[in-house]
Symmetry: C2
Subunit: 377 residues, 2 copies
């Protein structure tokens, strides 16, 4: 997944220290694949996955909309050329003064998942459109999905009725099937829930129009994942099953699926050692770890492909760890990672599929190490 | 643990957004308590715990030495007024060019835990003093201690012999009993291991002189912890038991114990809600979470005291989560946290014991949220 452009950049620029290189051509390919897979759905790129200005500008030019988690992200999307009407403030947890700032900037679409949040939106962004997030179980997702966002469908009915009563436009339902979702059928139950809420609101004379189907579209790490087209077919079939001929407007919010495979981290082997003469595994220490951008290795959730110049030779299972003086800064240990026996101190490695959820997760300066640099080409 | 000075600062300055306030008087008290508890041990402050320039300057002035994890931290210690001889490059994972830079800056004491690292130090910092880290089991520590650092004592012998052969000064042994170590007896087994290595080296004509007893000294969170004096007594007793009248030079490396209780995070309740009408727990969302500085809530390892203006009233177990659109950004859920029923949106809360391992763990800008600001007073 390291494209020729990325390899050429590394060969000519030879940046020192760990860094991420993002190839915009891949981002554009991914955008087009989503557009083709779900031609009737609006694409709202999840800015949090990678907010690099070049990425946002490319997507704004291609016609993408933007799912923002904060006022800062709203401003990034506007700076990239998006109009406020192409922005969704998709975080269900917002300070009232942040809602007011987004409203001032022209944002008119907000996520909610409880009556308390509806009241904030009604005060700070009168007349805005709101969608209510419902809980899903996250089955099939590789990044853990907690109960943090959303409410049960029964409560979503009350939330939207309350929004309507307070003068907001009760617009629809959203959900998220869990990040790195490899089951194309995972959207079905949530679409059925959305239909349930649509019907309950219709009985109260409130017509919902929007289903925000969230993100969850995966990046290929070590295992193959279904293509965007397969997700499109499965999701469209579920919409037909549950909504028949009266299809709602739909939104998808790809983040990882848009930029994950567009980025490669260049890192360096700092040390290879054993803990005792009889140790079964070698320890390989890199100059990037959990606090330098690879936070998604938490609980070994995301397992990145690692490319070395020795690939093809004999391998040995290794524990892989980061460079900080923190015991928790270990990437893969429960399931050791096969790496070439010939791998040695000073070798460069490429960590693929790192375009999403890396640069912004990096700590400010843990152990004095600078945050992950990024080059967008 | 929010001192009057901190409360006065908050009342008069009223900083917006989440922030850490550190009271230097407490840092000074802690330094003096360590000096009194172990008067014959040199104190090497673990810079990574909180590298605020004001903290480093205070400690440099009090006569502290510095345990550094990177060249950047070495430079911070030098800028704070430490001489290079008061600095230990305590990270066992170092690039050879970083060793060379530290050597150029005058640093002459380096940690190693394998032959490969010894070779780098011998090339990049010829003639330097090295100590070899041995593994401990971390029993009794609240922050997980992995096998990431150190080697078995038998291997430490080979490592130090190799260092001596390459012209380095084989100086001693280090270990770490695990962060937030609440068992004052935890140092005993490791001191016995150090003695074993000292004896084995002596038989080969190499005289070790230094035992680096690491950090691990706790901060009081919700439970009481033993005072520095109790650690001092237990550690000194172990040194006597294992080294008799020929006590080695010793080093301690407090980080959390030096600054943890000197800091308080001021945060704000952004949302309080339930997921369904029958939900047993309320969800309380703060404007700071796992990616904004409270990374040590990982696996609910560190449980901070939270002070609200409603304390004393009726409480209910709550799930506490951060403000980002990340499902993993939940602080306490497995063991819900009792918070006042009266707690509501907009309330300010104080998260105590947050002087260590917070500001530097904060992400650069995850979800667009700025890193944790800090005020040192």
């Amino acid at each position: 997944m390291a494209t020729q452009r990325i390899l050429d950049f590394l060969a000519t620029r030879r940046p020192d220290g760990p860094c991420l290189i993002v190839d915009l051509d891949i981002v554009e390919d991914n955008f087009n694949a989503f557009r083709k897979a779900l031609p009737d759905s609006a694409i709202f790129y999840a800015v949090k996955a990678n907010p690099a200005p070049e990425v946002l500008k490319l997507l704004a030019g291609l016609g993408s909309n933007f799912d923002c988690a904060s006022v800062a992200e709203v401003e990034m999307a506007l700076n990239a050329g998006a109009t406020p009407r192409r922005i969704s403030y998709g975080n269900t947890i917002k300070k009232e003064r942040d809602i007011a700032r987004a409203h001032q900037l022209g944002v008119a679409l907000f996520a909610v998942d409880c009556v308390e949040e509806v009241e904030k939106v009604a005060r700070a962004a009168p007349g805005a459109r709101v969608f209510c997030r419902v809980l899903t179980d996250g089955e099939g997702a590789e990044w853990p999905l907690s109960r943090k966002f959303g409410c049960v469908p029964d409560m979503a009915i009350d939330v939207l009725v309350h929004a309507n009563a307070l003068g907001l436009v009760a617009t629809g339902v959203s959900f998220h099937v869990g990040s790195q979702q490899t089951d194309t059928g995972a959207w079905d139950a949530a679409i059925a829930d959305a239909r349930f809420v649509f019907e309950a609101l219709a009985e109260k004379g409130i017509v919902l129009t929007l289903v925000n189907m969230g993100g969850g579209f995966p990046t290929r790490y070590l295992k193959d994942v279904p293509a965007a087209a397969e997700y499109g077919r499965a999701i469209f079939a579920s919409l037909r099953t549950h909504f028949g001929n009266r299809l709602p407007e739909t939104i998808i919010e790809p983040g990882r699926g848009m930029v994950g495979d567009a980025g490669v981290v260049k890192a360096e082997v700092v040390l290879v050692s054993k803990k005792s003469d009889t140790d079964a595994n070698r320890w390989v220490y890199l100059d990037i770890g959990k606090f330098g951008g690879l936070a998604e290795t938490m609980d070994e959730a995301i397992r990145y492909p690692i490319v070395t110049r020795h690939d093809g030779g004999a391998t040995e299972p290794c524990v892989i760890a980061g460079p900080t003086c923190d015991s928790a800064d270990v990437l893969y240990e429960k399931t050791p990672y096969p790496l070439p026996l010939a791998l040695t101190v000073g070798d460069e490695v490429l960590i693929e599929g790192t375009g999403a959820y890396t640069t912004t997760y990096a700590s400010v300066a843990f152990n004095g190490f600078e945050p992950l640099r990024s080059y967008v080409i």
